[in-house]
Amino acid sequence: MEYEAVIGMEVHVEINSKSKVFCACGTDFHAPPNTNVCPVCLGMPGTLPVLNVDMVNKSVAAGLALGCTISRWSKMDRKNYFYPDLAKNYQISQYDLPLCHGGYMDIEVNGVEKRIGITRAHIEEDTARNTHTIGGGQSGVDFNRCGMPLLEIVTEPDIHSADEAYAYLTLLKQTLQYLEVSDCNMEEGSLRAEANISVRPKGTTALGSKTEVKNVASFSGVHKAIDFEIKRQINVIREGGAVLQETRGWDADRGVTFSQRQKESAHDYRYFPEPDLTPIVVDEAWEQRIRESLPELPQARCKRFQTTYGLSPYDAGVLTAGRPMADYYESVITAGADPKKAANWIMVDLQALLTDAKQEITDCKVAPEHIAELLTLIGDGAISGKMAKDILRDIFETGKTPKAVVEEKGLVQISDTGAVEAIVRQVAEGHPAQVEQYKGGNEKVLGFLMGQVMRASQGKANPKLAEDLLRKLLNG
């Protein structure tokens, strides 16, 4: 029998607000334990939560980008359970009326487009972090993370393979980064993905019992874990067993999922409306204001780069993978550069320098105008392509302008016909034997003679002009 996998994703992203969701504490990930805390996020008696408006704005932006309907009226709820990482022993979250619902993302896998439904995206507060490594048989709790603003994004069970899950996560991350609402840094935990996986005989519609795979540290880990889990579940069923509904972890070293805890018949969280907070009312004008502030999203931008700049789908995809790179590229174009040449220089030469230096485009000292200037210098024949690469390396390190480097190093190309002709003549006179060989039909000698011309001019002779003059002289 053939089986198919049914997968739904739950993604928690930390919204990059300056302060936590219900208090004024900062959100610095690197702060020493229990320094970004206050009586409110510590749940001290007598404190009250106050919802951070920036969090709502950014969540609405995310919801709109995911094609969601924004609830005109939504509310926060208390989710009750006891655990030391929860200061109040309830988490303020959204239960039956999420801020955003009913959206979708169109992913592409192997050239085929597919729509993944977004069930909902809701606001909640993050929990603290328990550590069991402080020694002395003691456990510690770091409350820095407690109250960090989280957006939980839940998909429909529309995903059927690890590839699709990977494509969804990649596009989601790309989109949220475009919106600048989250860093989506999995290592720092600002993006956490959980996959709910079940399998069923192909052609049937009933859902099998699902496992929830948690605590995976990378997208490629999620891909591997889903692949493994699908195979494992199919094997369990083929061997006549039943898939247990449980939470499973991912052992990246061994490449296997493992049972973490079996669900005690669905936890009763005793949700009820949070009485300390007033309802969240996002009226049409508010939604419209945010809609108008949305940047162009990655998929739309990629298409526009192809139609407007004549780029190949591949090049457009690379240049729009991240918003900073796409912005950079367009700044180079705005500065007057040829779109295709600019794409080449950025993707090949500049990217090589960035990769070597382990830098992001946002750290780059080369201003977009300088790439355009460099391309102009090449176009004008003032410098050769080879010289341009050297200049680029120089400005990448120093942040100087191309013109300054050219002048400083005397790199200006000799394009004056008289001057180049003098050098050509001098070389021809100095190598009578080679000149004879050329005249005798040996075209290859031209390369040698050109090399001599470049050497005599210390590399500054305009190569195209030099070759033309050399041919003219030898053929004349």
Partner: protein, 489 residues
């Protein structure tokens, strides 16, 4: 026992301090001396902040000497209910769970009183976590009613009411979730006002039931209540439920004029459940107001029979979550014999909370449980809306609703502790006001044949505290008798 300054109201003290007739220090010393002399019998105070109070008083006197303008409560000695967060002293909520707990911050109300140049004498007793109607649920001590030491002072703000009645402070800050300011005020012969939900910031009030809790003062007269509201009302960015509404000068409402005022008398409040003596005194008070030109009209609050049931579902549900944080992990009581995490939770909570608090947490957990939520919590919310609607309709016919505060005067210790339901009924007239988020005020309207105070309650539309104060003040100025002082005073 004579005690200069202790029998004075807050506004009298403030005026005397501003005029220079007396220093805040002298007033404070007088009160501290009286507390030392008398509180052994009443047990209102849980903490006496001797040095702190004198330092606050000295700052007021220094301010006066420097020529600066004095705050509206300059030199007024105030006590605070045990659940008001203060950096000074402890904030125990009269619970073993928080014995020794020190809050890292001052609540908004406390900050505002301090900014108005008030003097804090200390903290006063209450039912544990404000759950109770007699202050018998305190884990610290048993507070007595100054009018009869064998009777309860009411609750949960029983320490506040007893302290004001016995002249152990000039006003006291209480909190009211279902009647916890008005009921003890009635039983001890004080004025007590629960402002509209959202009028006073709850930041720094340890929560019992978040959608019902509200801070308010217990005072010796209506003017002091108005004065105190002037200091504590108004939007607070730290409390999302505090309302952004202009705060009027409440003392300006004390015009003495109630001509044409329409007073609604709910027929459901004047049934056989109401004690004869209370009925008689309340009816007499109505006559006084009629004599001043007020009109009366019968109104109906048909859903009030369901108020207690709805209240005990909503308040326990909210309390079950609000009190979940007391788990021994970060602060408060942790059972010394706990061996693991689960044991720490179970043993700390079992031993740290008293029986009434445990009962309400269990009740609240139950009504929120899956399968019961719709039948209890959701239905209670519907009843709550109906009760609010009853009042909306009543206020189409009248400006203020008048009735008894409690069915009977103060009861004796132990009289109602055996049956929790019997105890819950003592809040029968006050609970609806919290459910409907309205302002309510209790003020004395006479003494029973056994010399116990009787209170009447005034209820107004949301944010119509001025109407309450105007009506109460007009009655107070014209009631034609002196309440006198409790025998102990």
């Amino acid at each position: 026992m004579t005690a200069p300054w202790c029998d004075k109201t807050g506004h009298e003290i403030r005026e005397a301090v501003v005029r220079g007739d007396v220093t805040a220090r002298v007033v404070t010393e007088a009160h501290l001396a009286r507390i030392h002399a008398l509180d052994g019998k009443i047990d209102a105070y849980t903490q006496i902040w001797e040095e702190y109070a004198l330092a606050m008083a000295d700052r007021v006197d220094e301010k006066r000497r420097s020529g600066a303008t004095l705050g509206i409560l300059a030199g007024v000695p105030i006590s605070l209910k045990e659940l008001m967060c203060t950096k000074q002293g402890e904030t125990t909520c009269a619970s073993k769970m928080l014995a020794g707990y020190r809050s890292p911050f001052d609540g908004t109300m406390v900050q505002r009183l301090a900014a108005a140049d008030a003097v804090f004498l200390g903290k006063v007793n209450m039912d544990e976590f404000a759950m109770g109607s007699s202050t018998e649920n305190s884990a610290i001590k048993t507070t007595k009613n100054p009018w009869d030491l064998g009777c309860v002072p009411g609750g949960s703000s029983g320490g506040s009411a007893a302290a004001v009645a016995a002249d152990l402070c000039s006003m006291s800050m209480g909190s009211d979730t279902g009647g916890s300011i008005r009921q003890p005020a009635a039983l001890c012969g004080c004025v007590g006002i629960k402002p509209t939900y959202g009028r006073v910031s709850r930041f720094g009030l340890v929560a019992f039931a978040s959608s019902l809790d509200q801070i308010g003062p217990l005072t010796k007269d209506v003017r002091d209540a108005a004065l105190c509201l002037n200091a504590i009302c108004g939007r607070d960015p730290m409390d999302a439920t505090s309302v952004d509404l202009a705060v009027p000068d409440f003392t300006a409402a004390l015009t003495g004029n109630v001509k044409g005022l329409r007073i609604g008398l709910p027929k459901e409040y004047f049934t056989d459940a109401l004690g004869a003596e209370v009925r008689e005194k309340v009816m007499a008070a109505i006559e006084v107001l009629r004599g001043l030109g007020a009109e009366t009209v019968e109104v109906s609050l048909p859903h009030c029979d369901y108020a207690i049931a709805a209240y005990y579902i909503i308040c326990t549900a909210e309390a079950s979550a609000n009190l979940a944080r007391f788990d021994g992990v970060r602060y408060g009581f942790r059972h010394p014999d706990a061996k693991d995490m689960r044991g720490m939770y179970v043993m700390s909570k079992s031993a740290g909370f008293g029986p009434e608090v445990r009962r309400r947490i269990l009740l609240g957990t139950y009504v929120l449980s899956s399968g019961y939520y719709d039948a209890y919590y959701l239905k209670a919310q519907k009843v709550r809306r109906l009760i609010k609607q009853d009042f909306d309709e009543a206020f189409e016919k009248c400006d203020v609703v008048l009735g008894p505060t409690t069915p009977s005067p103060a009861f004796r210790f132990g009289e109602k502790t055996a049956d929790p339901l019997e105890m819950y009924l003592s809040d029968i007239y006050t609970i609806s006001v919290n459910l409907a988020t309205l302002p309510g005020l209790s003020l004395p309207c006479g003494l029973s044949s056994s010399g116990l105070p009787i209170g009447m309650q005034l209820i107004a539309k949301p944010f119509a505290e001025e109407t309450l104060l105007r009506t109460a003040h007009a009655y107070e100025q014209n009631r034609g008798f002196d309440m006198g002082k409790p025998p102990i005073a």
